[in-house]
Symmetry: C2
Subunit: 306 residues, 2 copies
Amino acid sequence: MINVFGHKSPDTDATCSALIWAWYLNEHTTQDATAYVLGELNSETRFVLNHWEVSAPELLPILDAGAQVVIVDTNNSQELPENIADTEVIQIIDHHKLVGGLETVGPVNITMRPLACTATVMYDLMGAHAENLPREIAGLMLSCILSDTLEFRSPTTTPHDKDIAEKLAMSLDIDMTKYAAAMFAAKSDVSEFSDKGLITMDSKKYDVGDKNFRVSVLETTTPQTILDRKEGIVDAITQCIAEENDVDEVLLFVVDILNEEATVFTYNDLTKQVVGASFGVTVESDTEVLPGVVSRKKQILPALKL
Amino acid sequence: MINVFGHKSPDTDATCSALIWAWYLNEHTTQDATAYVLGELNSETRFVLNHWEVSAPELLPILDAGAQVVIVDTNNSQELPENIADTEVIQIIDHHKLVGGLETVGPVNITMRPLACTATVMYDLMGAHAENLPREIAGLMLSCILSDTLEFRSPTTTPHDKDIAEKLAMSLDIDMTKYAAAMFAAKSDVSEFSDKGLITMDSKKYDVGDKNFRVSVLETTTPQTILDRKEGIVDAITQCIAEENDVDEVLLFVVDILNEEATVFTYNDLTKQVVGASFGVTVESDTEVLPGVVSRKKQILPALKL
């Protein structure tokens, strides 16, 4: 049995592309596969699974040494189970930069493309099989593209991602804009999440100089609901730093999907310093609005400096 | 201009797959590309280029920071130019295990497949364009497959590599077995190479426990011509270890292509120890014959232990 899973803090692409690839292996190869996730699902992903009537993947159990593994939507060992080095990684499908932490025992099947989401890479890998997807698999694929591109607003979007999304929407006969709006509304309803849950929902560790950051993003159509919880969130950040040995600071970006801007929390000297240096702004209050910034991959991580 | 190149100690696959991919980029994309090599060509590769009337790639000049790079036939930063981290790697095409040393600045196009050689991966990537290759490109591709599979004798060979080779040989209307024999005879003529040249001709650094090894392979149809030079080669090994800071020992395997066995030099205590432990043999003389062993990737490196 092959274990298929994406990164910690699972989002729609990590979760659904694991489901898509497990389906593909089961349906079109001789291999048996099961999709898993590495953490709690966010409200967008729950909406997507519910909409397409697909059961949520179970939490990945502790893997035996030598277990066969397919990694999707990351190639970063920090975002994977601790014992990933003891497993047999047979395939990696991803769309991020090569991070350089992962080794494999033998030659491996790796496909990484500079596209907006993992599902688009999978569409291409499937060849003719992609023309005849079951409704729920096509729906998951479309959801991954809309989620990772923020309905084509993100600068990570390529014409190829958009083409595939339009093809899928047509085959599904759904109104893509309405469906995306419903996804983003679901993502924006974070009432069920604790302040700590908001920080780790979509979060990646990233080193800047000698500091270890946790760079968290909350994509929303209603940023004010999050900004209203600022005090509690800052308390949760302080607690998170105290609990995690390898995190010096949390940078939280609240991305306003519709207005295409980010508000970053600048609640102390270090956050003020890094945001000022990275985005060329003079930070004076405990939040800073960054117009046009929506993508961690293309606009936030490459800019970060001390 | 995109710089396309393979690993240090260039062999037929590293050299010809760089030429093949530079041709593909120039012919079928809007990008301009030039193939390079990182060292002196071996006699097999010179024979291949001569046979298909293709000029040898020039030695890679020192790359400017930010230079655009396509890496073929390796993903190991130790086998690449020292300043590879300062370049912009836009694509990697390879068939080795993921080594984990290389990082990229942004999302990148990576295709790694568990096939016998890089040229087979390229054949698949070219899609319909692979059906209509110019004679010399098809010839280089066939040469890569025959070289890396030792004409399908190596356990790295997959049915897919063999299929592609047969298809190419048919389209070229050549006798594959005769052509492979001529390639291997050219490879076996090492009279022009110094003893030191023999050690580095096809050599990869590899760590075993706390020791850094250089694992060198000489594939030949006439092993005796190399064994006759044993004394000089052992002197050259001693000198190589003294000159290279990060090499504790050289393991030299003389692979007899036709009889499908390797003779490894066991000229001191450490080489005797590692060969004994790795292959379950009691080493008594200064060479040891290992029946059936022909592949560094599948049979030598995975076995090595102290």
